[in-house]
Symmetry: C2
Subunit: 273 residues, 2 copies
């Protein structure tokens, strides 16, 4: 199923309520990807906003708190408008399972990004990544678990940060590479919400395996991406107290920083012997 | 008024509802500081949690969306528990003016930070800051506006990043220095929510003056701070499309990274002539 189909929402008859189908392919180890769910929440926010026309067509920021893993299949989205301003509108979206169990809650800020904007100050150094032909596409068979989303996302990683796949992580805590939809769909503001949480956890590069459940994710969309594969850098900042904070920066084919994600996630750290 | 007093909340009789007083001293240019308001929301979350005992005594993450400037004086806090887990609890807090106008909404995650935790991986380089005696305390008289919060927070900045105060910003987009409560109150997890948004905007160091209204702020509390002044680095990552994303890192007197804030804020950029 395509990204636009798996993030589609349908009005549920009650004001501010939508239904959706959480697709099992957009998942890791049996759990829906957090960026996919954030994009789904943004679609619901945009659906709610659309009644006012096209003033705020782009997601510019989205911030989510994940409560527990979302079930596949039917889901409910409850949208409340918190602010309708001249420049931006803010909506809260709660995603629940079909039985009403809340799974995540997001704040979505929509506005308008201009095609002709240019950076005034950019202090985020772009990574040096080899040509995509020299990078390695991540398979659906992950390290000890299945990663079905790798069938619909084409992720090509710099071999220099793939040591974890052969038991020799670099220890730098950084993954770099390319990201594109496998079906050729071009990136847009909505897709960037997925992009900031679509790479494997940077903790793999520290030799810390296993699932890294996202607690909080904040995504800033800084510019409209040009067509072509995105360049992504996922970096672990601090691993402590069974948590890691990771910063994920995303550049488009023009080399422009188009999105950043910051997340706090759980991680298993072996105890010293 | 002391920090603990200006973040105090009182049960309002209705389940999950509290009242508070937004103090005019904890403000910049007539608007309450965003970190102060986030700490106030966290106090409300903790009050709501306290019925269950002391299992989750520390804020470990808080993420807020600011809708419009909060008024000074009486405020209302509505708290809803979204998750009560074994390791963490998550609460949503909405702060409204006395008349019910919503001003910000936060997700607060509470858990327990252990005194004996140690970093497993730390990729966040601490700044080189001169001794506090060689730094300059920021005054209440700010650049074109009053900053009353500088009367209750002692902020000593590295002179090397104070060029903006004399019309010669460095252009690096980074402010470094020390932060303490003026009355000697020691930092704790709650105070770190304030610390990640208490420095002047790093855009001052880019020659961009004026108010930088926070749209989103996410704060991670990574460790319990030791007594003594905090070291703070506020850095602008990208300025584009009338917005800046800033990362604020906070170290304690042991040199441990204890908190990080990520915010997306509005900023005025002069148009090219």
């Amino acid at each position: 199923m395509r990204f636009d189909d798996v993030t589609a929402v349908t009005p549920a008859g009650t004001s501010g309520r939508y239904t959706a189908q959480v697709d099992p392919q957009w998942s890791i180890a049996g759990k829906p990807n957090g960026g996919y769910l954030l994009a789904l929440c943004a679609r619901a926010a945009q659906a709610e906003l659309s009644a006012e026309g096209e003033h705020h067509p782009h997601v510019v920021a989205a911030s989510a708190t994940y409560l527990s893993p979302t079930a596949f299949g039917p889901a409910r989205l409850d949208v409340e408008e918190l602010r309708r301003g001249r420049g931006t509108s803010v909506l809260r979206v709660r995603l629940s399972d079909d039985d009403g169990t809340p799974r995540l809650e997001a704040h979505v800020t929509c506005g308008r990004l201009r095609d002709d904007a240019e950076p005034h100050h950019d202090n985020v150094t772009a990574p040096d990544v080899p040509p995509i032909e020299q990078c390695v596409r991540l398979p659906v068979d992950g390290p000890g678990f299945q990663v079905p989303i790798m069938g619909v996302l084409a992720e090509h990683l710099d071999p220099a940060c793939l040591g974890w796949a052969t038991g020799a992580p670099s220890g730098a805590g950084e993954l770099r590479g390319y990201l594109a939809f496998d079906d050729g769909r071009e990136p847009d503001a909505l897709a960037l919400l997925l992009a900031v949480d679509a790479f494997p956890p940077a903790t793999f590069d520290l030799g810390l395996g296993g699932w890294v459940p996202t607690l909080h994710l904040s995504a800033w969309v800084r510019a409209l991406p040009a067509p072509g594969p995105l360049v992504v850098r996922q970096a672990a900042r601090l691993v402590e107290a069974s948590m890691v904070d990771e910063t994920c920066d995303v550049w488009d084919s023009r080399g422009r920083l188009v999105a950043t994600g910051h997340q706090l996630a759980g991680v298993r750290v072996p105890r010293p012997a």
